[in-house]
């Protein structure tokens, strides 16, 4: 096996006396991309990451069999993952008075807490308050890209110009043709797998070879065609043919490891920010990395009102530091970047840096989840077992609502993620019974189920927001976020339609529906939070311009999902990276002109 086994680059020493060209806060998809683009153009960048640099291959152990793990993947005693019921019945902070030693977000319940216990934050150290919210955070080099779901989709003008179509909210200050070249660059630099469908509302990427479908998926694809709907192989942010310019990543060998656990790929065929972006950036000689560095404030030059650097706390030593730079780029995640801006108060910026509009923390949006369907494909019962989960994802059914039609109950749309086929653990084990017949039934039905669940656009609303809790602080004494967020009428009506249409599609395909989900999951479940520092052309109603540059502070950029004007219903990671690339191109040009 010729697998990639290249050690990470030797890090440069951090020089806190120096004035860096740029400081990037956060090392996930956005921060990694900023580091890549800026260093490739010769800027000297300091990348601050709040979490540790993990020996990630040892954490993920992608191919480890369950029986080779002492607890079959569970974390050691004393750990707990928050359940749906806890999120629903209680209000945050969820873990403060917990009797458990360590508490993790619901992602730990997917099976395999032990593989993510050092990637996910311990909720006991990271409280938040307000309305119920399933906030999933990963503090480690690479952030959530270490375990992300890999579905890599483009947005279209149905999203960028959604207001022009239905009158709600705001249009983005860009259109598809502005971002398309950057989607292309992301595709080529990182690799993406998929099948061309020529859909105007879900543009194709520059795909490497697609992953395959299972029998049930092929059948559903055929039956959906007459309905004008599409089932396409999972568009995975995974390199299936390899990326020759990157020595840290292998191509995908269809091990299926990424679907057995909360995610992650120990050969880095699935994109992650460290191997995909940060290590190559370090190889330019222009990137300095400091982990365990929790940014707590963007520092202001009192004379000019511009950003002069970042104050941070070392997560291990608790010591405070300041470091200076000519440009500050926030990429700490939608919610953490908003928190940092709101915490950065000064005489010049009394409501937080870049917040004269009062919109920082507001227009908070994401994807609503919950409704879905599980079906039995009778033709597959009792069939011989084959490899069916050797792939980074199952299938995707793109949005079909409010494209040419107008739904009576709601605006915008939703898509379905789904899968079928045999996996390492049999499905539907909660069927009644026990004994020889139960055992035989499980065996015969292995691989005969298909299921899918929807991701729908949550409308951005000014009144959906986060602010700083006046009392509660995290382990490092930094004030925490307080949530003011719930789904509205549009989301609930959309969720009802998800439920109905899911069932309708399975029934049309002759799949016996054996289970349906109608209930909406706790906000946050999609891990697609967006919009808290939106872009726009009007500084009164937006925080950033089309290059993710603060309207107020011209050397401050916010290049993560907080800049998104609406959530669309497509998974955001690829768009986050395309936008960050575009903005960092602009940033460099302005930097060279001396206009920042």
């Amino acid at each position: 096996m010729t697998l990639v086994k290249i050690a990470p680059p030797i890090p440069q020493d951090v020089d806190l006396q120096r004035t860096y060209d740029a400081i990037v806060v956060g090392s996930g998809a956005a921060g990694g991309m900023a580091a890549h683009v800026l260093t490739s153009k010769g800027l000297h960048v300091l990348l601050l990451e709040a979490g540790k640099k993990l020996p990630i291959e040892k954490e993920l152990r992608s191919m480890q069999w369950p029986y080779d793990h002492p607890r079959r993947g569970d974390a050691p005693p004393g750990s707990h993952s928050i359940s749906f019921n806890e999120y629903t019945i209680r209000k945050p902070p969820y873990a403060v008075n917990s009797a458990y030693k360590h508490v993790y977000s619901y992602v730990g319940t997917w099976g395999g807490t032990d593989y993510v216990k050092n990637i996910l934050v311990d909720e006991k150290n990271h409280p938040y308050t307000g309305t119920p919210y399933a906030w999933v955070r990963a503090r480690a080099l690479g952030g959530k890209t270490n375990i992300w779901g890999r579905l890599a989709l483009r947005l279209s003008d149905y999203d960028f110009k959604a207001k022009s179509r239905d009158g709600y909210g705001e249009d983005w200050p860009i259109e598809y043709k502005d971002i398309q070249p950057y989607y292309d660059r992301v595709d080529r630099y990182l690799g993406i797998s998929g099948h061309k469908e020529n859909l105007p509302h879900l543009p194709d990427s520059l795909f490497q070879r697609p992953v395959k479908l299972n029998k049930a998926e092929v059948m559903l694809r055929q039956k959906l065609k007459p309905m004008g709907r599409v089932l396409t192989p999972y568009r995975a942010g995974v390199t299936t043919d390899g990326v020759k310019h990157n020595k840290y990543r292998s191509k995908c060998f269809g091990r299926g490891a990424c679907n057995r656990r909360p995610g992650g790929c120990d050969i880095h065929a699935a994109f992650d920010s460290p191997t995909g972006l940060i290590y190559p950036a370090m190889d330019t000689g222009n990137l300095t990395l400091r982990t365990n560095s929790i940014a707590r404030e963007v520092l202001i030059d009192k004379n000019s009102g511009r950003a002069r650097g970042v104050a941070f706390v070392d997560s291990e030593t608790q010591k405070s530091y300041e470091v200076n730079a000519k440009v500050v780029v926030l990429a700490a995640s939608t919610l953490e970047s908003a928190r940092l801006m709101l915490l950065s108060k000064s005489d010049q910026h009394p409501n937080g840096i870049g917040n004269t509009s009062g919109h920082v923390g507001h227009n908070f949006c994401e994807h609503v989840m919950g409704p879905g369907v599980t079906g039995l494909v009778k033709e597959l019962v009792g069939k011989p077992h084959t490899i069916e989960d050797g792939r980074p994802g199952g299938f995707y059914v793109p949005r079909f609502r409010n494209l040419s039609d107008r739904q009576p109950g709601f605006i915008r749309g939703y898509g379905f993620e789904g899968s079928s086929g045999q996996s390492i653990f049999p499905s539907h084990t909660d069927r009644p019974g026990f004994g020889a017949q139960y055992k035989k039934d499980l065996r015969d039905h292995t691989g005969a189920f298909i299921s899918m669940g929807a991701f729908g656009e949550v409308l951005p609303r000014y009144e959906s927001y986060v602010d700083i809790d006046p009392e509660t602080k995290d382990k490092w004494g930094i004030p925490v976020l307080r949530f003011h967020y719930e789904f509205g009428d549009n989301e609930h009506k959309m969720a009802e339609d998800m439920f109905t249409s899911a069932r309708e599609m399975f029934e049309a395909a002759g799949i016996e529906v054996i289970g349906t989900d109608r209930e909406v999951l706790t906000p946050g479940w999609s891990i697609h939070e967006l919009g808290t520092a939106r872009m726009g052309s009007d500084p009164k109603t937006s925080v950033l311009n089309q290059f993710q540059q603060s309207h107020d502070v011209r050397n401050l950029f916010v290049v993560d999902g907080s800049s998104h004007v609406n959530a669309s219903c497509q998974n955001p990671t690829w768009t986050i990276m395309a936008l960050a690339w575009r903005s960092c191109d602009y940033l460099t040009d302005e930097f060279r002109k001396g206009s920042l």
Binding site: M1, W65, L213, F253, G254, F434, K440, T516
Partner: protein, 203 residues
Amino acid sequence: MTDMSSPESLSRREMIGATAAALVTPLLVPRVQAVLNAVPLPPKFLTVAEFTLLDELTEMIIPTDNHSPGARAAGVARYIDNRLAESLEPDWQALWRSGLASVDGLSRELNGIAFMQSTPEQRLAVVTRMAAFELRPATPETEVRPGKAAVEAPAMTPAEQFFAELKRTTVYAYYTSKIGIHTDQNYKGNVYQLQEYAGYDAT
């Protein structure tokens, strides 16, 4: 195959084996190892009587059939005992202890005799009663809600509540064992696919 769910005891045994190998001639090692393997390790949390009962219950849920060995061969009771022994959750430990007691209680109630002393037919009657809640009508829409227990019956008896936990844990332990994954399920994945991926094209 008996102890794969118990790496701690395995490693202890490997340690003894390694020591033995260092002390005796290589020819003797297989015999020493065979003797060591034949000695059953005492349960860590449960009493021997509780462990024997649990082992029987797991085997009744996933029995050996002509296709594959069952829960006993897969070491399911050993796995559960190990987890109970290291658990920091007294409530969870108590559920198992009282649950196993409730099985004997139900056995006496139905058959007038302790579970392990009863006939196979009598045992089946007890477990069937413990599982009765599964056949009560449930609201279809709540069947597969994520994050919720599969069955939220309002009036479950202690033996029924225990059965739900017992079945869930037994199924998990069995289908994550070598026997469950490879012999019973004949699982083909978790391998490197060096050429084309398995499956069908989207046409």
